[in-house]
């Protein structure tokens, strides 16, 4: 009886201080979450075509953080994990696999990876959980047989949340390039050490490949934004390969880096390189309440998610056209006055890119048209040749730790040229 009275008091007290929860609907093309209520416990609900995440603590959606933890409360609308990019290098009866980290948003993180193996393109694959690592060696393979591999990102429940593109590799015997004994035949050609990259960028985009930060090759993507680019003449060792694309306005994507361990006379393949969309805005300052147009180029007919930072992050979606161009009229009413940033990513047939570069704009009291997005890396380009490369870094390193450096090599205005300035230059690198 006492318990019932206590419960009644608690309910009445709670009703007095309860916050009104707005039942905003969240929907996608194949589900609607009507009149949602944030639960006081975390959970995950799934069916064949949707997943619903909810979190504990606050009864409003938001992110709380301190130096030691972060709490993502409420519905995790548009949670996503970027698709890992897998590479494979043939060995003797084995294949060395590596992949990029699958990056989660809104607290949605990858806890482990599973490598799938098949002798048929498209599977079915036999999966092995390899733990939270970015490399694996598939052993016990038959030389001369073509194998197909994918990698899946697993969440903390062990569910697969993202799957890479497929990569193929044919293991070869380390002695297979020697001529047959006594047969009089011709020796098999030595393939040479090379790495082949393929992926998606923008229609007819110029793709640049850097090897250890220096220009190695360029190519042009086709009308569907697909590209393939090869670098050869390599030694056996660790390389950092970087790829970026330029859209139809000359705007560059961020550099995507791939550390690859090459093996002498082996071909490494890297499939599913997804170059993030470019992004621009039509106003450098927008009057609060007016629309700002966010636009750029991506893979044709892709779903483009745009994230706009504010006190909380807003996510909106649009689709790119056949030419890869996309735009979105963003209503700035919910944004506070001040500086904001936008970034975008694409989802094309389940292949999800990472977010691209940030574009900034001010929410204020008037509208000011934005200058066209600069195609040259302003600031870090010391010799003004529209590139940031060996020449610029040489000039910067010349002034490293010297007194009274010129302003142009002191990007952060600290009065000296140091590691911070080098880091800033490295961010804008074009090779």
């Amino acid at each position: 009886m006492v318990k019932k009275q206590l419960l009644l008091v608690l309910v009445l007290f709670g009703s007095l201080i309860a916050t009104v929860v707005l039942a905003q609907e969240f929907s996608s093309s194949n589900f609607v979450n009507s009149n949602p209520v944030v639960t006081m416990g975390g959970g995950k609900a799934t069916s064949t075509n949707f997943q619903l995440f909810s979190g504990l603590s606050q009864v409003v959606i938001g992110e709380s953080s301190s130096s030691a933890f972060a709490s993502y409360a409420g519905f995790f609308y548009f949670p996503f994990v970027s698709t890992p990019v897998i590479s494979a290098t043939a060995g003797d009866g084995q294949a060395s696999l590596s992949w990029t980290s699958a990056v989660g948003e809104l607290g949605y993180n990858i806890s482990a990876y599973a490598v799938g193996k098949s002798t048929n393109s498209g599977g079915p694959y036999s999966f092995t959980n390899v733990g939270n690592t970015l490399t694996n060696t598939a052993t016990g393979l038959t030389n001369g047989t073509l194998y197909y591999f994918v990698v899946r990102g697993l969440d903390f429940l062990g569910d697969s949340v993202v799957t890479s593109s497929e990569v193929s590799v044919t293991p070869v015997s380390s002695g297979s390039v020697t001529p047959p004994i006594g047969g009089g035949g011709t020796p098999l050609p030595v393939p040479g050490t090379k790495v082949i990259f393929s992926g998606l960028a923008y229609p007819n985009a110029k793709i640049t490949l850097l090897k250890d930060a220096q220009l190695a090759a360029t190519t042009i993507a086709n009308a569907n934004a697909s590209f393939q680019i090869t670098v050869s003449g390599l030694s056996g060792g660790t390389y950092i390969f970087s790829i970026y694309g330029e859209d139809n306005k000359g705007v560059r994507s961020p550099l995507l880096n791939f550390p690859i361990d090459t093996t002498i006379n082996a071909v490494s393949t890297v499939n599913g390189v997804l170059i993030p969309p470019t992004i621009s805005v039509d106003k450098s300052e927008v009057k609060k309440g007016d629309d700002i147009i966010i636009f750029g180029q991506s893979v044709p007919r892709a779903e483009v998610t745009i994230a706009v930072s504010s006190e909380k992050e807003f996510f909106v979606k649009t689709f790119s056209g056949n030419d890869g161009n996309y735009f979105y009229n963003f209503d700035t009413t919910p944004l506070s006055l001040g500086q904001h940033f936008a970034k975008s990513k694409f989802d094309f047939n389940g292949q999800i890119s990472a977010f691209g570069k940030l574009v900034d704009f001010l929410v204020g009291t008037k509208n000011i048209e934005a200058e066209p997005t600069p195609t040259c890396p302003i600031g870090a380009d010391l010799n003004k040749d529209c590139r940031v490369n060996l020449i610029d870094v040489s000039i910067l390193i010349y002034w490293f730790d010297k007194s009274n450096p010129p302003a142009k090599v002191d990007f952060d205005g600290s009065g000296k040229t140091d590691l911070v300035d080098l880091s800033i230059m490295a961010y804008y690198w074009t090779g």
């Binding site: 607290g107 690592t133 429940l157 250890d212 390599l234 030694s235 080098l422």
Partner: protein, 283 residues
């Protein structure tokens, strides 16, 4: 379901744990004895970060260990602002990875030591700065793990780390000529950076025209500021293999300095003179 909720909640409450980048020193050598050589590697695990600049100081006990070699041929670092160097018991370096590195096992440098005396050798990372690839050079939170190695007993046949013979020359590279008002008094200079994944680059030599070749680093002020001579750059690795790259004259020679051009012009003028004279005589 309750367990799932609990797990889910726990993950949500502590997602930031373990996100700091990590640098470690590790060695595969065991049972080290006095006189043995062993290799210690410096690795970067960026966790959820994207790191593009790194600066560090490693200290080692000089009374117990002798540093024989520092290797950086297979480093994730593309450009060294301070190449790895030793000063007393300290090894210092700093450099950048354009575009950043995001990975678990990035090799930065490795060091070959020789054990001098018995005892526990502590090789420690006394300073580390890792900067994010965010266009601002924001410092990333970083944890360090040093290495303690016990050296016990005298080696009867001391282990030496024999390197695989490197017969490959450094990879092809492309030198560039430039000038800038802030360096070398606006004089033309040459920049180049070659890679050698085997033994690593030892040094470069620059030969301008018929001048004597000069041993140099990767930033070189040209002696011939007229840029009218061929420039040859040699990259030589630590095994003595060399890659030679030639840069043609950056300017077309003045016609009067090229004997071939001069001869052709004089010949044409002479031929024209003879023709004109014959025509004139016929009239």
């Amino acid at each position: 379901m309750a367990l799932s909720c609990l797990l889910f909640s726990a993950v949500l409450m502590f997602p930031a744990m373990g996100r700091a980048a990590e640098v470690t020193l590790s060695s595969e050598s065991k049972n080290i004895r006095v006189g043995d050589q062993f290799e210690v590697s410096f690795f970067l695990n960026t966790k959820d970060e994207n790191i593009n600049a790194l600066e560090s100081t490693i200290i080692f006990p000089q009374n117990l260990l002798e540093l024989k070699e520092i290797k950086n041929g297979n480093s994730i670092i593309s450009f060294w602002s301070n190449p790895p160097s030793v000063s007393g018991n300290q090894i210092n370096f700093s450099g950048v990875v354009p575009g950043g590195y995001a990975g678990r096992n990035g090799s930065v440098i490795s060091m070959i030591f020789q054990a001098l005396a018995e005892g526990v050798s502590a090789i420690e990372i006394s300073k580390i700065t890792a900067l994010r690839n965010d266009g601002k050079g924001t410092r990333a939170e970083t944890t360090v793990s040093g290495l303690k190695l016990a050296v016990a007993g005298q080696a009867i046949a001391p282990k030496t780390l024999t390197q695989e013979k490197d017969t490959d020359p450094p990879e092809e590279f492309l030198p560039a000529v430039s000038r800038d008002e802030t360096v070398f008094g606006d004089k033309y200079f040459l920049v180049f950076a070659a890679q050698d994944k085997g033994s690593g680059i030892d040094h470069y030599e620059v030969c301008e025209g018929a001048r004597e070749c000069v041993k140099t680093e990767s930033l070189y002020v040209l002696q011939n500021q007229n840029l009218d001579e061929e420039i040859v750059v040699k990259a030589i690795d630590k095994s003595g293999n060399e890659r030679v790259v030639a840069l043609p004259s950056q300017k077309l020679n003045s016609w009067y300095t090229n004997r071939l051009y001069l001869g052709i012009i004089i010949g044409v003028a002479l031929f024209a003179y003879i023709i004109i004279r014959r025509v004139w005589k016929k009239r």
